[in-house]
């Protein structure tokens, strides 16, 4: 299959190993991977902040960049949700509505693409250590991705997966919310870090580098040893 990657801007700049891991995994499965270099951002920061005109302009660029794709795969539940769920809302009653819906319909979060589209749950990966899984809100509630990453992780040799209680409470990031209401965001982050600490896991795994950026930022400040890892980093580790 010809797979077009959407690598979110912060993965491009802060966590390029996640993007590289996606390429490695998909190519190993025998697919043709392409990366349109004109891509930038999905527009979510402006959209969530209420600046829909600016968000639409950015999103229109993305719609154009990805118009020729067969499927679009992104290692982010949040950016994936922006494209799949929110593009149709953002472009409602505009001339680009059809094009936006077409892009929305062919956008997949990485783990759901592997499990639901490619029917792969065992990549033959191995990763030694004890880990817990954080459900990113957009992936979970906007895209309905809950079991897919867990199915993939269960097949990773050497990995002990312990659920935190609860795994699906928000980490408090929320984009600009984290700096507009830092006291609330940090309090939520503290709750998340406490739930992670209770599991005594060495790693916290997620579908979203943005959640991990927040969680890791707090763990580091608290002097905790737990490391945040994107699901892709675990799956691509031994490939």
């Amino acid at each position: 299959m010809r797979i077009t990657l959407f690598i979110p801007c912060f993965i491009d700049q802060f966590y390029p190993q996640v993007g590289a891991g996606v390429v490695k995994i998909l190519e190993k499965l025998g697919h043709q991977v392409e990366y349109p270099e004109a891509q930038t951002c999905c527009g979510q920061p402006a959209f969530n902040s209420g600046h829909w005109d600016e968000a639409r302009a950015v999103a229109a660029h993305a719609v154009e960049v990805f118009s020729q794709a067969e499927v679009i795969v992104s290692p982010s539940g949040s950016c994936g949700a922006m494209m799949r769920v929110f593009y149709p809302q953002l472009f409602k009653d505009t001339p680009q509505y059809q094009a936006a819906c077409a892009v929305a319909a062919k956008t997949f979060e990485f783990s759901e693409f592997l499990v639901k589209k490619l029917k792969v749950t065992d990549l033959g990966a191995s990763f030694p250590g004890k880990a817990t899984f954080h459900d990113g809100c957009h992936g979970l509630r906007e895209l309905g991705v809950r079991e897919e990453p867990r199915a993939l992780l269960r097949n990773v040799k050497g990995l002990e997966l312990v659920e935190m209680d609860p795994p699906d409470t928000c980490c408090g990031f929320g984009g600009t919310f984290a700096v507009k209401f830092p006291m609330i965001s940090s309090a939520m982050g503290e709750g998340k870090c406490a739930a992670i600490a209770e599991t005594q896991a060495d790693y916290v795994i997620s579908l979203d580098s943005s959640c991990l950026m927040h969680i890791q930022g707090m763990l580091d400040r608290q002097g905790k040893k737990t490391r945040g890892l994107h699901l892709v980093e675990v799956l691509a580790h031994s490939l």
Binding site: I7, C9, F10, I11, D12, Q13, F14, Y15, P16, Q17, V18, G19, A20, Y35, E37, T40, C41, P45, A46, F47, N48, S49, G50, H51, W52, E54, A57, V58, A60, H61, Q89, C137, H138, L140, R141, E142, D168, T169, C170, G172, G174, G175, F177, A178, V179, K180, F181, P182, M183, I184, S186, A187, G189, G191, M213, Q216, G217, M218, D220, R221
Partner: protein, 469 residues
């Protein structure tokens, strides 16, 4: 920034620093979640029940004129007096007039958030009436002279010791902390008050259009006494609280109990259809229903957000909200707290004054998932944000997002911007944590991520197979 926004931030700062309080609220609500899930499991399909409830509400709200007319006609035929109030002031005036005309002196109330919305107690007390809340939680917060903390659990923020303290101070009660003993203190007083009251004011959980009756849900039996012992019963109801039929009620009553309180069914569910009829030996001789608009028709006129009127005030969205759990109910400064409050308060009390509530969310969507009538609260927060920005764009922020948009539409500019970020990041430690730190809202509690040596884009371009030949 509006005065309300400043108050909100100050209170949120105080409450998020109070770890004890946060843990107390979280623990209580985790307990609720366990019970709720247990009773959700008793539905054949909770998801189908949600779908059905949403469909009923959609039908009623989109034909509200018709259902209201049917409801009112049936009620009036049984001797009820119906009063229409377009805003809070009109509603208060109706109720004050009823009280004055009937020389009422002592008024007893059962739980009603709508009465909080119109600040009824204040108005009644200022007019010289004695008002007494008969719901235990409401009574406790009334004694403390504070608003309900939560629309369903008004005194959930208080520990037994604090309740005992207020009973000692205000009622001269003995210092006990056993829940039963505490309840008995309130009960002894309430029993006397029920007998003294000449007017009872209640809320309404559902109006049944088909039969012209109001349904009240409660656990303490106080609403039954409030509505049946005094000679006058005044019910206050938002115009949106209708269902079509008794069949609908069979769906909504267990849903409200499950979603709202983690119960199978609440202790008492009672239907009231008007005053005492000829030949009946008890019940109020007058039954008044005050129907309140107070901004609801504005929401009705907004096709995109009309489904906010589906809300049955169960509190499920508050219970699962991580914002609520961390800042508590009083921080909102509103009648309705949590996600539903953050969405409707800007509609009811002014978008620019209350928009901060729609912005103070991580958009996690737990509320949308919990809502028994499937109101997509998280998406409505986004709509409010968009409307607020469109109506009055904050200049600096607008400029920032124009720049963001320009950069993200031009890959060259994006690469340049990221290059500059990477170049400047090593200088960040110089100002980090100081007043000059541009990222201080982040760095106060969190470390920052580091720009990678090689971006993904550069890695991709330099792969042997991608290098230009």
């Amino acid at each position: 920034m509006s005065e309300y926004s400043q108050q909100f931030k100050a209170s949120a700062t105080r409450l998020t620093a109070d770890l004890d309080h946060r843990q107390w609220i979280s623990k209580a609500l985790r307990g609720y979640e366990t019970k709720r899930d247990e009773f959700k499991g008793r539905f054949q399909s909770w998801e189908e029940a949600r779908q059905a409830a949403a469909a009923v509400k959609y039908e009623v709200i989109n034909h509200l004129d018709r259902y209201l007319a049917e409801f009112v006609a049936k009620l009036e035929a049984r001797g009820a007096v119906v009063h229409w109030a377009s805003d809070a002031r009109e509603a208060r005036e109706h109720i004050l007039r009823i009280a004055r005309e009937n020389q009422a002196r002592f008024i007893i109330k059962s739980k009603s958030m709508t009465s909080e919305e119109i600040h009824l107690n204040d108005a009644l007390q200022k007019a010289g009436f004695e008002v007494f809340e008969s719901d235990l939680g409401e009574y406790i917060v009334q004694l403390r002279d504070e608003p309900p903390y939560h629309i369903v659990f008004p005194a959930m923020h208080l520990k037994r010791g604090e309740i005992s303290q207020v009973f000692q101070q205000k009622l001269g009660a003995e210092p006990v902390t056993d829940p039963e003993a505490l309840t008995m203190i309130a009960r002894r007083i309430m029993r006397q008050k029920f007998c003294q009251a000449d007017m009872g004011i209640s809320g309404v959980n559902f109006g049944v259009a088909e039969t012209g009756m109001i349904s009240i849900t409660e656990n303490e039996g106080n609403a039954r006494l409030t509505t049946s012992l005094p000679r006058i019963h005044v019910a206050l109801m938002g115009i949106e609280k209708l269902v079509r039929s008794m069949d609908d009620l069979a769906l909504f009553l267990p849903m409200l109990a499950t979603a709202g309180a983690g119960q199978n069914l609440t202790g008492y569910n009672t239907l009231y259809g008007g005053p005492r009829l000829k030949g009946e030996s008890d019940g109020p001789t007058q039954f008044h229903l005050v129907l309140l608009d107070n901004g609801r028709t504005r929401i009705l006129a907004d096709a995109e957000q009309r489904d906010l009127l589906h809300c049955i005030r169960c509190g499920a969205c508050l219970n699962v909200c991580p914002i609520f759990r961390n800042i508590g109910g009083h921080s909102y400064g509103t009648t309705y707290q949590g996600p539903i409050g953050s969405v409707i308060t800007p509609h009811l009390r002014g978008l620019q004054d209350w928009k901060h509530l729609s912005f103070s969310s991580s958009l996690c969507g737990a509320c949308s998932q919990a809502c028994p009538v499937r109101i997509d609260l998280a998406h409505h927060l986004l709509h409010n944000r968009r409307n607020a920005i469109r109506e009055k764009p904050p200049a600096l922020e607008k400029l920032a997002f124009r720049f963001f948009s320009l950069m993200m539409r031009h890959p060259g500019l994006y690469r340049f911007g990221m290059f500059m970020g990477k170049l400047l990041q090593p200088l960040h430690p110089i100002v980090k944590g100081s007043a000059l730190d541009p990222a201080k809202a982040w760095t106060k509690t969190r470390e920052t991520p580091k720009f990678a040596q090689t971006s993904f884009r550069d890695w991709w371009k330099n792969r042997p197979q991608n290098r230009p030949t």
